[in-house]
Symmetry: C2
Subunit: 230 residues, 2 copies
């Protein structure tokens, strides 16, 4: 009996696990944004049928949750510096950098509570930075405030980045000359303060803008740490 008489052995299904699934989804999102992530495409990338994924997740939202947690692993620094301020600053900047690597993160940031292991670890790191420097309530408020600023700022940065990319113009040029709508609106005179800001304001790059606002918020936290109950 020759080889050709025998049928090929059946293709055993590719072994799967959440790690592989999430990696495929992240890759797709990195390439084409969140909307490029469909269960069919994720499965296809793994040589599996779409329905197989439902053994590992029970809804597409859960896949997104896993993706977010996966990226949070990149955010955690190897070691924490002793200085609370430096620790919080680094965590915020690493979050921003992660969002620049994975722009879709901006769409998900703050959208759901982050309860995955890595997400919890990041929260832990934030809280740990303030350990012993304030009562728990103050620490909680500080962490929430810094986090809120970070996600809000990152979302705006990515939103602007996409807008600029869509028009192919730099932020300044876009506002000043080529954004016909904005120009027309400013010309109405109904937005004097805004017009002044657009025309007279220096255009700072996004990173320093993020850093400056962050420093302000950290200043506020520092002030509260000095007087724990305020």
């Amino acid at each position: 009996m020759t080889v050709w008489d025998r049928p090929e052995p059946p293709n055993r299904p590719v072994p799967l696990d959440r790690e592989r699934i999430v990696a495929a989804a992240v890759a797709l999102a990195d390439e084409g944004g969140l909307e490029a992530v469909s269960l069919r495409k994720v499965a296809a990338r793994l040589n599996a049928g779409p329905m197989r994924l439902y053994g590992y997740i029970s809804t597409k939202q859960e896949l997104f949750d896993l993706m977010v947690d996966e990226v949070h692993a990149e955010i955690l620094p190897e070691e924490q510096p002793g200085d609370w301020r430096e620790a919080l600053r680094i965590l915020a900047h690493r979050t921003r950098q992660a969002a620049l690597r994975h722009e879709w993160l901006a769409d998900l940031l703050g959208g759901r509570p982050t309860l995955g292991p890595n997400g919890l670890a990041v929260t832990e790191a934030r809280l740990a930075a303030l350990d012993g420097l304030a009562d728990v309530d103050t620490a909680m408020r500080a962490v929430e405030t810094v986090s809120a600023y970070s996600t809000g700022s990152i979302r705006r940065e990515i939103a602007n980045l996409r807008a600029e990319r869509a028009t192919g113009l730099s932020k300044r040029d876009w506002q000043r000359a080529s954004g016909p709508h904005v120009t027309r609106m400013l010309a109405t005179g109904r937005f004097p303060a805004l017009a002044k800001a657009v025309y007279d304001g220096a255009d700072v790059d996004a990173e320093t803008s993020f850093a400056t606002g962050l420093d302000w918020v950290l200043d506020a936290v520092a002030a509260k740490l000095a007087r724990p109950s305020a």
Copy 2:
């Protein structure tokens, strides 16, 4: 020739405009969240075919943009108080209240630049509050920082609210006892600071949490206004 011999006059198509379209979309979103908004359903609510909408918008994203701008009209207060701090505080709180009325706003906040007339008016109001109190760059930074905090904080609040609603539990109970996953994670001892915060922390209501963080950020702004270039 009797009435019955004559056919009914053809139903003239319902007159449409963006206002009506946006109102229908907002109503749909208020009832069932953003995902309940489909062009077909919006059109159906207006007794029109889905394709009619493309005369007024050219993409679904644009409909979302219009919805966001519509809500920004609710955010603008009738009159601005003289105090810059009160003005910024009120704007932030009104944004939050709008998001509580229209929870879907949280999904959109910060997602795209707000270039509609009402969105620009809100930005104008924020900038105007600081007019004369700082150079344009400082004012810009201040407005951006406060806005970033607001959107980040609002998003988190709505996210938590939905999570609580999904489990039917209060935030405290959810974290403490019934969130088996969180409880188990905290029990591992890998998140000591977080565990302490969850177990020893007072649970403040969302509004005061928002207000407190906002005050901190405003404190930081106040400090920079004192010394314009810092």
